[in-house]
Amino acid sequence: MNLKFVENVKADITSDIVYMMCPMHLLKLEEHMKELDSGQVLELLTDYDGALEDIPAWWLKTGNEFIGIDEAEDYYKIYIKKARKTVS
Protein backbone atom coordinates (compact mmCIF):
# COMPACT_ATOMS: atom_id res chain seq x y z
CA MET A 1 0.00 0.00 0.00
CA ASN A 2 1.42 3.38 -0.98
CA LEU A 3 0.67 6.13 1.49
CA LYS A 4 -0.69 9.27 -0.02
CA PHE A 5 0.49 12.57 1.47
CA VAL A 6 -1.81 15.57 1.34
CA GLU A 7 -1.87 19.15 2.65
CA ASN A 8 -4.55 21.67 3.67
CA VAL A 9 -7.47 19.27 3.61
CA LYS A 10 -10.69 20.76 5.03
CA ALA A 11 -12.40 18.44 7.48
CA ASP A 12 -15.95 18.42 8.83
CA ILE A 13 -14.99 16.69 12.10
CA THR A 14 -11.64 16.48 13.86
CA SER A 15 -10.97 13.69 16.32
CA ASP A 16 -7.87 14.19 18.47
CA ILE A 17 -6.71 10.81 19.76
CA VAL A 18 -3.02 11.68 20.16
CA TYR A 19 -1.47 9.57 22.97
CA MET A 20 -4.53 7.31 23.22
CA MET A 21 -3.81 3.62 23.00
CA CYS A 22 -4.35 1.23 20.08
CA PRO A 23 -6.96 0.33 18.89
CA MET A 24 -8.68 3.62 19.84
CA HIS A 25 -7.97 4.85 16.29
CA LEU A 26 -10.23 2.15 14.85
CA LEU A 27 -12.94 2.55 17.50
CA LYS A 28 -13.05 6.32 17.05
CA LEU A 29 -13.10 5.86 13.29
CA GLU A 30 -16.20 3.67 13.49
CA GLU A 31 -17.83 6.06 15.96
CA HIS A 32 -17.27 9.16 13.82
CA MET A 33 -18.29 7.46 10.59
CA LYS A 34 -21.73 7.03 12.12
CA GLU A 35 -21.92 10.79 12.82
CA LEU A 36 -20.80 11.92 9.37
CA ASP A 37 -23.00 12.37 6.32
CA SER A 38 -21.95 10.93 2.96
CA GLY A 39 -19.21 13.00 1.38
CA GLN A 40 -18.09 14.58 4.68
CA VAL A 41 -14.47 14.37 5.79
CA LEU A 42 -13.04 13.15 9.10
CA GLU A 43 -9.65 14.35 10.31
CA LEU A 44 -8.08 11.90 12.76
CA LEU A 45 -5.07 13.12 14.76
CA THR A 46 -2.93 10.26 16.06
CA ASP A 47 0.67 9.58 17.06
CA TYR A 48 0.21 5.82 16.59
CA ASP A 49 2.40 4.52 13.74
CA GLY A 50 0.25 1.41 13.34
CA ALA A 51 -2.61 3.63 12.17
CA LEU A 52 -0.70 4.16 8.93
CA GLU A 53 -1.26 0.49 8.08
CA ASP A 54 -4.60 -0.07 9.78
CA ILE A 55 -6.52 2.84 8.36
CA PRO A 56 -5.83 2.24 4.67
CA ALA A 57 -6.72 -1.42 5.29
CA TRP A 58 -9.95 -0.38 7.01
CA TRP A 59 -10.71 1.92 4.08
CA LEU A 60 -10.34 -0.95 1.61
CA LYS A 61 -12.60 -3.11 3.73
CA THR A 62 -15.36 -0.56 4.27
CA GLY A 63 -15.31 1.32 0.98
CA ASN A 64 -14.86 4.76 2.55
CA GLU A 65 -12.40 7.03 0.78
CA PHE A 66 -8.94 7.40 2.23
CA ILE A 67 -7.88 10.92 1.23
CA GLY A 68 -4.37 10.85 2.66
CA ILE A 69 -2.01 11.70 5.47
CA ASP A 70 -0.45 14.97 6.57
CA GLU A 71 2.49 14.80 8.94
CA ALA A 72 2.43 17.27 11.83
CA GLU A 73 5.32 17.79 14.27
CA ASP A 74 4.81 14.70 16.38
CA TYR A 75 1.62 13.14 15.10
CA TYR A 76 -0.25 12.34 11.89
CA LYS A 77 -3.39 13.87 10.45
CA ILE A 78 -5.33 11.22 8.60
CA TYR A 79 -8.20 12.21 6.31
CA ILE A 80 -11.10 9.94 5.40
CA LYS A 81 -14.19 10.80 3.38
CA LYS A 82 -17.38 8.94 4.13
CA ALA A 83 -18.60 7.00 1.09
CA ARG A 84 -22.17 7.21 -0.19
CA LYS A 85 -22.69 3.63 0.88
CA THR A 86 -20.35 1.83 3.22
CA VAL A 87 -19.75 -1.90 3.27
CA SER A 88 -19.90 -2.26 7.05
Binding site: D16, V18, Y19, M20, M21, C22, P23, M24
Partner: protein
Amino acid sequence: MRYFDHVATNPLLPEVLDAMMPYFKEQFGNPLSPYDLGIAAKMAIDDARQRVAELINAKAGEIAFTSSGAEANNFALKGVALAKQQSGNHIITSKAEHHSILNTARSLEKLGFVVTYIPVDKEGLVDPKDVEKAITKDTTIISCAHASSEVGTIEPIKEIAAIAKAHKVTFHVDSVAAVGAIPVDVAELGVDLLSMAAHQFYGPKGAGALYIRGGQRIVPLIYGGIQENGRRAGTENVPAIVGMGKAAELAKRDLTSRMEHVRKLRDKIIDGIGRVENVHLTGHPQNRLPGHASFVVEYIEGEGMLLMLQAQEIVAASGSACTSKALKASPVLTAMGVPSSMAHGSIVFSLGIANTEEDVDALIEELPKIIRRLREISPFGKGGWGKLEPEVEH
Protein backbone atom coordinates in the same frame (compact mmCIF):
# COMPACT_ATOMS: atom_id res chain seq x y z
CA MET B 1 -13.45 5.16 69.29
CA ARG B 2 -13.68 8.84 68.51
CA TYR B 3 -12.34 9.23 64.98
CA PHE B 4 -10.85 12.62 64.03
CA ASP B 5 -8.76 11.55 61.04
CA HIS B 6 -11.10 11.91 58.09
CA VAL B 7 -8.38 13.40 55.89
CA ALA B 8 -6.53 10.07 56.21
CA THR B 9 -9.58 8.12 55.13
CA ASN B 10 -13.27 7.61 55.75
CA PRO B 11 -15.42 4.57 56.41
CA LEU B 12 -17.60 3.34 53.54
CA LEU B 13 -21.20 4.40 53.73
CA PRO B 14 -23.52 1.37 53.94
CA GLU B 15 -25.31 2.41 50.70
CA VAL B 16 -21.93 2.48 48.96
CA LEU B 17 -21.03 -1.02 50.11
CA ASP B 18 -24.48 -2.26 49.03
CA ALA B 19 -23.97 -0.80 45.57
CA MET B 20 -20.57 -2.47 45.28
CA MET B 21 -21.47 -5.97 46.50
CA PRO B 22 -22.98 -7.40 43.30
CA TYR B 23 -19.77 -6.52 41.44
CA PHE B 24 -17.72 -8.64 43.85
CA LYS B 25 -20.10 -11.55 43.31
CA GLU B 26 -22.39 -12.40 40.43
CA GLN B 27 -21.65 -9.28 38.31
CA PHE B 28 -17.99 -10.14 37.85
CA GLY B 29 -17.76 -9.45 34.11
CA ASN B 30 -14.93 -7.67 32.33
CA PRO B 31 -16.26 -4.35 30.96
CA LEU B 32 -14.53 -5.01 27.63
CA SER B 33 -16.28 -8.36 27.09
CA PRO B 34 -18.94 -8.16 24.38
CA TYR B 35 -21.52 -10.43 26.06
CA ASP B 36 -24.17 -9.47 28.62
CA LEU B 37 -22.01 -9.99 31.71
CA GLY B 38 -19.35 -7.65 30.32
CA ILE B 39 -21.90 -5.17 29.04
CA ALA B 40 -23.47 -4.96 32.53
CA ALA B 41 -20.07 -4.13 34.02
CA LYS B 42 -19.43 -1.55 31.28
CA MET B 43 -22.80 0.06 31.99
CA ALA B 44 -22.04 0.14 35.71
CA ILE B 45 -18.74 1.99 35.23
CA ASP B 46 -20.34 4.36 32.70
CA ASP B 47 -23.03 5.15 35.25
CA ALA B 48 -20.36 5.75 37.93
CA ARG B 49 -18.50 8.00 35.49
CA GLN B 50 -21.65 10.06 35.03
CA ARG B 51 -22.14 10.42 38.81
CA VAL B 52 -18.54 11.48 39.40
CA ALA B 53 -18.81 13.97 36.51
CA GLU B 54 -22.00 15.42 38.04
CA LEU B 55 -20.28 15.92 41.40
CA ILE B 56 -17.79 18.35 39.81
CA ASN B 57 -19.98 19.62 36.92
CA ALA B 58 -17.96 17.88 34.19
CA LYS B 59 -18.94 15.68 31.25
CA ALA B 60 -18.73 11.92 31.72
CA GLY B 61 -16.18 11.62 28.89
CA GLU B 62 -13.84 13.93 30.81
CA ILE B 63 -13.45 11.53 33.76
CA ALA B 64 -10.68 8.91 33.76
CA PHE B 65 -10.76 6.50 36.68
CA THR B 66 -7.47 5.74 38.43
CA SER B 67 -6.45 3.62 41.41
CA SER B 68 -6.04 6.59 43.77
CA GLY B 69 -5.68 10.32 44.15
CA ALA B 70 -1.91 9.87 44.04
CA GLU B 71 -2.16 8.12 40.66
CA ALA B 72 -4.39 10.90 39.36
CA ASN B 73 -1.76 13.46 40.46
CA ASN B 74 1.08 11.50 38.85
CA PHE B 75 -0.96 11.03 35.67
CA ALA B 76 -1.84 14.73 35.41
CA LEU B 77 1.63 16.12 35.99
CA LYS B 78 3.65 13.56 34.04
CA GLY B 79 1.04 13.07 31.35
CA VAL B 80 0.70 16.75 30.48
CA ALA B 81 4.42 17.59 30.93
CA LEU B 82 5.28 14.81 28.45
CA ALA B 83 2.42 15.61 26.06
CA LYS B 84 3.51 19.26 25.87
CA GLN B 85 7.30 18.82 25.93
CA GLN B 86 7.59 20.01 22.33
CA SER B 87 6.40 23.42 23.46
CA GLY B 88 8.31 23.71 26.74
CA ASN B 89 9.87 22.02 29.75
CA HIS B 90 8.87 24.29 32.63
CA ILE B 91 6.47 23.27 35.40
CA ILE B 92 5.12 25.41 38.23
CA THR B 93 3.84 24.03 41.51
CA SER B 94 3.91 25.13 45.15
CA LYS B 95 6.13 24.17 48.06
CA ALA B 96 3.09 23.04 50.06
CA GLU B 97 1.88 20.22 47.82
CA HIS B 98 1.16 16.62 48.66
CA HIS B 99 4.06 14.19 48.14
CA SER B 100 2.31 12.74 45.08
CA ILE B 101 2.90 16.11 43.36
CA LEU B 102 6.25 17.04 44.94
CA ASN B 103 7.86 13.66 44.26
CA THR B 104 6.41 13.52 40.75
CA ALA B 105 7.85 16.99 40.07
CA ARG B 106 11.23 15.81 41.36
CA SER B 107 11.12 12.76 39.08
CA LEU B 108 10.39 15.07 36.13
CA GLU B 109 13.37 17.23 37.10
CA LYS B 110 15.55 14.13 36.70
CA LEU B 111 14.16 13.77 33.17
CA GLY B 112 15.26 17.32 32.33
CA PHE B 113 12.16 19.32 33.20
CA VAL B 114 12.58 22.53 35.18
CA VAL B 115 10.28 23.03 38.16
CA THR B 116 9.54 26.27 40.04
CA TYR B 117 8.19 25.73 43.55
CA ILE B 118 6.10 28.75 44.58
CA PRO B 119 6.28 29.67 48.29
CA VAL B 120 3.20 29.93 50.48
CA ASP B 121 2.50 32.53 53.17
CA LYS B 122 2.26 31.80 56.89
CA GLU B 123 -1.35 30.70 56.47
CA GLY B 124 -0.47 28.33 53.65
CA LEU B 125 -1.84 30.49 50.82
CA VAL B 126 -0.29 30.64 47.37
CA ASP B 127 -0.24 34.20 45.98
CA PRO B 128 -1.58 34.08 42.39
CA LYS B 129 0.77 36.99 41.55
CA ASP B 130 3.74 34.75 42.39
CA VAL B 131 2.37 32.14 39.98
CA GLU B 132 2.06 34.73 37.23
CA LYS B 133 5.61 35.99 37.83
CA ALA B 134 6.97 32.44 37.57
CA ILE B 135 5.44 31.80 34.13
CA THR B 136 7.98 31.73 31.28
CA LYS B 137 7.60 31.01 27.58
CA ASP B 138 8.52 27.39 28.39
CA THR B 139 5.84 26.85 31.06
CA THR B 140 3.44 24.08 30.06
CA ILE B 141 1.65 23.16 33.29
CA ILE B 142 0.83 24.66 36.69
CA SER B 143 -0.27 22.32 39.48
CA CYS B 144 -1.71 23.49 42.79
CA ALA B 145 -3.50 21.81 45.67
CA HIS B 146 -7.12 22.88 46.07
CA ALA B 147 -7.06 22.42 49.84
CA SER B 148 -4.33 21.23 52.16
CA SER B 149 -5.07 18.08 54.10
CA GLU B 150 -2.46 19.16 56.64
CA VAL B 151 -3.47 22.73 57.39
CA GLY B 152 -6.89 22.92 55.77
CA THR B 153 -6.20 26.09 53.75
CA ILE B 154 -8.27 26.49 50.57
CA GLU B 155 -6.23 28.01 47.75
CA PRO B 156 -7.40 30.75 45.34
CA ILE B 157 -7.91 28.24 42.51
CA LYS B 158 -10.18 30.41 40.38
CA GLU B 159 -7.66 33.26 40.34
CA ILE B 160 -4.77 30.95 39.44
CA ALA B 161 -6.89 29.32 36.73
CA ALA B 162 -7.58 32.71 35.15
CA ILE B 163 -3.85 33.48 35.08
CA ALA B 164 -3.04 30.06 33.58
CA LYS B 165 -5.69 30.56 30.91
CA ALA B 166 -4.44 34.05 30.03
CA HIS B 167 -0.96 32.59 29.48
CA LYS B 168 -2.26 29.48 27.68
CA VAL B 169 -0.74 27.20 30.34
CA THR B 170 -2.52 23.99 31.38
CA PHE B 171 -3.75 24.09 34.99
CA HIS B 172 -4.07 21.02 37.19
CA VAL B 173 -5.59 21.12 40.64
CA ASP B 174 -5.13 18.44 43.27
CA SER B 175 -8.63 18.40 44.77
CA VAL B 176 -8.24 15.15 46.70
CA ALA B 177 -8.90 16.89 50.04
CA ALA B 178 -11.58 19.18 48.57
CA VAL B 179 -13.97 17.04 46.50
CA GLY B 180 -16.78 15.93 48.78
CA ALA B 181 -15.74 18.45 51.45
CA ILE B 182 -16.60 21.71 49.66
CA PRO B 183 -18.43 22.50 46.39
CA VAL B 184 -16.15 21.84 43.40
CA ASP B 185 -17.27 22.97 39.95
CA VAL B 186 -14.66 22.59 37.20
CA ALA B 187 -16.49 24.97 34.86
CA GLU B 188 -16.71 27.72 37.47
CA LEU B 189 -13.12 27.19 38.61
CA GLY B 190 -11.82 27.07 35.03
CA VAL B 191 -9.34 24.25 35.61
CA ASP B 192 -8.06 21.82 32.94
CA LEU B 193 -7.37 18.79 35.13
CA LEU B 194 -8.53 17.88 38.63
CA SER B 195 -7.63 14.92 40.86
CA MET B 196 -9.95 13.24 43.34
CA ALA B 197 -10.12 10.12 45.52
CA ALA B 198 -13.24 8.14 46.43
CA HIS B 199 -12.27 7.33 50.03
CA GLN B 200 -12.18 11.03 50.85
CA PHE B 201 -15.96 11.15 50.42
CA TYR B 202 -17.02 7.83 51.97
CA GLY B 203 -16.26 5.74 48.91
CA PRO B 204 -13.81 2.84 48.75
CA LYS B 205 -10.03 2.90 48.71
CA GLY B 206 -8.58 1.85 45.37
CA ALA B 207 -10.65 4.27 43.29
CA GLY B 208 -9.67 7.76 42.20
CA ALA B 209 -10.29 9.84 39.15
CA LEU B 210 -8.73 12.52 37.03
CA TYR B 211 -10.92 15.10 35.32
CA ILE B 212 -9.33 15.87 31.93
CA ARG B 213 -10.98 18.76 30.11
CA GLY B 214 -12.15 17.74 26.63
CA GLY B 215 -9.38 18.30 24.09
CA GLN B 216 -6.54 18.17 26.64
CA ARG B 217 -3.81 15.79 25.46
CA ILE B 218 -2.21 13.53 28.04
CA VAL B 219 0.37 10.74 27.79
CA PRO B 220 -0.75 7.58 29.63
CA LEU B 221 1.08 6.33 32.72
CA ILE B 222 0.00 2.72 32.17
CA TYR B 223 0.08 1.19 28.70
CA GLY B 224 -1.95 -1.75 27.49
CA GLY B 225 -5.58 -1.94 26.47
CA ILE B 226 -8.10 0.76 25.70
CA GLN B 227 -9.70 1.14 29.11
CA GLU B 228 -10.55 4.70 30.15
CA ASN B 229 -10.82 5.89 26.56
CA GLY B 230 -7.33 4.64 25.69
CA ARG B 231 -5.75 6.68 28.48
CA ARG B 232 -5.22 4.15 31.25
CA ALA B 233 -4.79 0.46 30.63
CA GLY B 234 -5.74 -2.32 33.02
CA THR B 235 -8.99 -4.15 33.70
CA GLU B 236 -11.12 -1.76 35.68
CA ASN B 237 -11.62 -2.14 39.43
CA VAL B 238 -15.36 -2.40 38.81
CA PRO B 239 -16.60 -2.69 42.44
CA ALA B 240 -14.46 0.26 43.57
CA ILE B 241 -15.51 2.39 40.59
CA VAL B 242 -19.18 1.58 41.25
CA GLY B 243 -18.60 2.54 44.90
CA MET B 244 -17.00 5.81 43.84
CA GLY B 245 -20.03 6.57 41.68
CA LYS B 246 -22.44 5.90 44.53
CA ALA B 247 -20.33 7.92 46.98
CA ALA B 248 -20.25 10.81 44.48
CA GLU B 249 -24.02 10.73 44.13
CA LEU B 250 -24.46 10.87 47.92
CA ALA B 251 -21.80 13.56 48.33
CA LYS B 252 -23.59 15.76 45.80
CA ARG B 253 -26.94 15.19 47.50
CA ASP B 254 -25.72 15.76 51.07
CA LEU B 255 -22.85 18.22 50.64
CA THR B 256 -24.52 21.22 52.28
CA SER B 257 -25.71 19.35 55.37
CA ARG B 258 -22.34 17.57 55.74
CA MET B 259 -20.54 20.91 55.58
CA GLU B 260 -22.81 22.49 58.18
CA HIS B 261 -22.40 19.54 60.53
CA VAL B 262 -18.61 19.46 60.49
CA ARG B 263 -18.20 23.24 60.48
CA LYS B 264 -20.01 23.56 63.81
CA LEU B 265 -17.84 20.88 65.38
CA ARG B 266 -14.66 22.31 63.87
CA ASP B 267 -15.36 25.77 65.27
CA LYS B 268 -15.87 24.26 68.71
CA ILE B 269 -12.49 22.47 68.49
CA ILE B 270 -10.71 25.61 67.29
CA ASP B 271 -12.25 27.55 70.12
CA GLY B 272 -11.56 24.89 72.77
CA ILE B 273 -8.06 23.77 71.80
CA GLY B 274 -6.95 27.15 70.51
CA ARG B 275 -7.29 28.49 74.08
CA VAL B 276 -4.56 26.19 75.42
CA GLU B 277 -1.33 28.08 76.07
CA ASN B 278 1.24 27.97 73.30
CA VAL B 279 -1.04 26.18 70.92
CA HIS B 280 -1.45 27.82 67.53
CA LEU B 281 -3.99 27.20 64.78
CA THR B 282 -2.22 26.35 61.51
CA GLY B 283 -3.60 27.26 58.11
CA HIS B 284 -6.01 30.00 57.22
CA PRO B 285 -8.48 31.00 59.96
CA GLN B 286 -11.39 31.48 57.51
CA ASN B 287 -10.52 29.99 54.10
CA ARG B 288 -10.20 26.45 55.37
CA LEU B 289 -11.93 23.11 54.94
CA PRO B 290 -15.13 23.09 57.01
CA GLY B 291 -14.18 19.90 58.87
CA HIS B 292 -10.52 20.70 59.50
CA ALA B 293 -8.84 21.98 62.69
CA SER B 294 -5.05 21.84 62.78
CA PHE B 295 -2.60 23.13 65.34
CA VAL B 296 1.01 23.21 66.37
CA VAL B 297 1.56 22.58 70.04
CA GLU B 298 4.80 24.06 71.27
CA TYR B 299 7.43 22.07 73.19
CA ILE B 300 6.04 18.59 72.55
CA GLU B 301 5.88 16.06 69.73
CA GLY B 302 2.74 15.29 67.75
CA GLU B 303 3.46 11.56 68.03
CA GLY B 304 3.33 11.73 71.82
CA MET B 305 -0.05 13.43 71.75
CA LEU B 306 -1.39 10.82 69.30
CA LEU B 307 -0.31 7.94 71.54
CA MET B 308 -1.85 9.45 74.63
CA LEU B 309 -5.04 10.37 72.79
CA GLN B 310 -5.24 6.79 71.53
CA ALA B 311 -5.19 5.60 75.14
CA GLN B 312 -8.36 7.68 75.58
CA GLU B 313 -9.88 6.11 72.43
CA ILE B 314 -9.38 9.31 70.43
CA VAL B 315 -7.56 9.15 67.10
CA ALA B 316 -6.14 12.04 65.08
CA ALA B 317 -3.14 12.77 62.84
CA SER B 318 0.14 14.59 63.10
CA GLY B 319 0.96 16.03 59.69
CA SER B 320 0.48 13.87 56.64
CA ALA B 321 0.61 10.09 57.12
CA CYS B 322 3.95 9.69 55.31
CA THR B 323 5.55 12.62 57.10
CA SER B 324 4.39 11.11 60.34
CA LYS B 325 6.03 7.75 59.55
CA ALA B 326 9.29 9.36 58.45
CA LEU B 327 9.35 11.50 61.62
CA LYS B 328 10.19 14.48 59.48
CA ALA B 329 8.99 18.02 59.86
CA SER B 330 6.15 18.50 57.40
CA PRO B 331 7.20 20.24 54.16
CA VAL B 332 3.88 22.11 54.25
CA LEU B 333 4.52 23.57 57.71
CA THR B 334 8.15 24.25 56.81
CA ALA B 335 7.00 26.08 53.65
CA MET B 336 4.68 28.16 55.85
CA GLY B 337 7.69 29.26 57.91
CA VAL B 338 6.86 27.20 61.00
CA PRO B 339 10.22 26.41 62.69
CA SER B 340 11.09 22.71 62.54
CA SER B 341 11.02 22.45 66.37
CA MET B 342 7.42 23.63 66.39
CA ALA B 343 6.39 21.68 63.27
CA HIS B 344 7.06 18.46 65.20
CA GLY B 345 4.21 19.42 67.49
CA SER B 346 1.71 19.31 64.64
CA ILE B 347 -1.71 17.83 65.31
CA VAL B 348 -4.64 17.62 62.89
CA PHE B 349 -8.29 16.93 63.69
CA SER B 350 -10.48 16.28 60.67
CA LEU B 351 -14.18 15.70 61.14
CA GLY B 352 -16.75 13.55 59.44
CA ILE B 353 -20.47 13.02 59.34
CA ALA B 354 -20.45 10.49 62.18
CA ASN B 355 -18.69 12.79 64.66
CA THR B 356 -20.83 14.14 67.51
CA GLU B 357 -20.75 16.98 70.04
CA GLU B 358 -19.73 14.42 72.65
CA ASP B 359 -16.70 13.43 70.58
CA VAL B 360 -15.62 17.05 70.49
CA ASP B 361 -16.33 17.57 74.20
CA ALA B 362 -14.20 14.53 75.04
CA LEU B 363 -11.36 15.88 72.91
CA ILE B 364 -11.51 19.32 74.48
CA GLU B 365 -11.51 17.68 77.92
CA GLU B 366 -8.62 15.27 77.27
CA LEU B 367 -6.17 17.07 74.99
CA PRO B 368 -5.25 19.95 77.36
CA LYS B 369 -4.49 17.38 80.10
CA ILE B 370 -2.30 15.42 77.70
CA ILE B 371 -0.46 18.54 76.58
CA ARG B 372 0.19 19.48 80.22
CA ARG B 373 1.47 16.00 81.06
CA LEU B 374 3.74 15.81 78.00
CA ARG B 375 5.18 19.23 78.69
CA GLU B 376 6.04 18.12 82.22
CA ILE B 377 8.12 15.21 80.92
CA SER B 378 9.40 16.94 77.78
CA PRO B 379 13.12 17.81 77.56
CA PHE B 380 11.82 21.32 77.03
CA GLY B 381 9.45 20.91 79.94
CA LYS B 382 9.49 22.61 83.33
CA GLY B 383 12.69 24.64 83.55
CA GLY B 384 13.53 23.75 79.97
CA TRP B 385 10.62 25.24 78.18
CA GLY B 386 10.00 27.66 80.97
CA LYS B 387 13.26 29.32 79.95
CA LEU B 388 11.90 29.76 76.45
CA GLU B 389 8.63 31.24 77.67
CA PRO B 390 9.22 32.41 81.25
CA GLU B 391 5.89 34.20 81.51
CA VAL B 392 3.81 31.10 80.80
CA GLU B 393 2.42 29.10 83.67
CA HIS B 394 0.91 25.65 83.47
